[in-house]
Subunit: 193 residues, 2 copies
DNA sequence: TTAATTTCTTGTCATTTGACAAGTGATCGT
DNA sequence: ACGATCACTTGTCAAATGACAAGAAATTAA
């Protein structure tokens, strides 16, 4: 039950006193999942927020043709949260699934609400987390709209090379918005890694 | 100085008492801009949050080749905010510009902070606004990754037909991630509108 | 270990989209 | 009202990517 990774994550994002972080993370509990295991399933109403301490996971949706489209890739340490489902308490369209074995911390919506309204520093932290996530997503969208697949691949390779050692290429391909064959060809044309 | 549109916007998103909304919007002031006018410029640190009461605007970035890439389209009534610049107080990469004549309400970061920490309902509202914006952006990203340009065009046409009456097609094209000639061809192939 | 399954690569061909250039019509500023 | 600029369309051709299928390589399960 060593919460140092979790606690340090707060400090890394935001200047905040140790005692307050301890107070915030007090009610987090830990658990582990094997690889290829669903954390939040489609149509579920998410009632927990998760911190991924170790491992790799992804979220994806099923399109009209029932093909998997990877919507996000998660590399520890980071929070994993279906914002819409969690905060609006409505069913999610996405499936959140581990790719490698993962260890988590979780806490309930009630605890988040209590912290959000009672601890000013937690409010600031939550908002910052939103801002950062929004910004990452926006960067990805801009990339999708303005760069070709090869550039997107090279950017991911530069920013997150370790992803390629743990996540299947077909998952990465759908995250990049291309087919696995196209990704394979792009990799052939470049010198791979 | 009629704040009814602004006040109603709060009620439309969130069940909240009239008195509290009045308290929140008390320190908002109004102003107008002509068409094609910059609201927030690149490299600026945004110190205001804006509510677009009437009009159409967009945000865009300049890519490596100095081409404009439209990052968002704003249709009144809605909040307009560079989250990253406003909440982290750092320079923005984006340019926010009116497309038609626009009328706004604005308030300062100090007021937002004060409301955020003193009015629980405002906190909930702010978070909901984030959730909604995040969700919209995510939908757009998924669309970019998984659907072809024609489908994206048809979706926009269905969800926001009025956009096509006020916003130049070349702006819409770059928002959809295609060139203006491609959009023109897509429109020719379909029966337009 | 072996068989089954999944992942990755590659081939062929079609489709989508971009690059560039030209022309037309609309809009803007003076 | 004028010329200048801008927005949109269209043509031609090239490049990027997808669809489908087959096979190799890796992983998984019994």
């Amino acid at each position: 039950m060593n919460k140092s990774v979790l606690n340090n994550y707060f400090h890394s994002l935001f200047p905040i006193e140790k005692e307050i972080v301890v107070q915030i993370t007090e009610k987090f509990t830990s658990f582990k999942l094997h690889k290829n295991t669903v954390l939040i399933d489609k149509n579920e109403i998410s009632s927990k927020t998760y911190f991924l301490e170790e491992g790799y996971m992804r979220s994806y949706i099923l399109n009209e043709d029932n093909e998997e489209v990877t919507t996000n890739i998660y590399v520890a340490p980071c929070f994993v949260n279906d914002f819409l489902s969690f905060f609006k308490q409505q069913p999610t369209r996405e499936i959140y699934q581990t790719i490698t074995a993962c260890s988590f911390w979780e806490t309930s919506l009630e605890n988040v609400q209590s912290n959000f309204h009672n601890i000013p520093e937690f409010r600031e932290f939550s908002r910052l987390l939103f801002v950062i996530n929004y910004h990452k997503l926006k960067d990805r969208t801009i990339e999708m709209a303005s760069q070709k697949a090869e550039t997107r691949y090279l950017n991911l390779l530069e920013q997150n090379p370790n992803v390629f050692q743990h996540i299947p290429l077909k998952v990465i391909a759908s995250y990049l918005g291309i087919t696995d064959s196209s990704l394979s060809r792009i990799r052939k044309d470049i010198g791979k890694y």
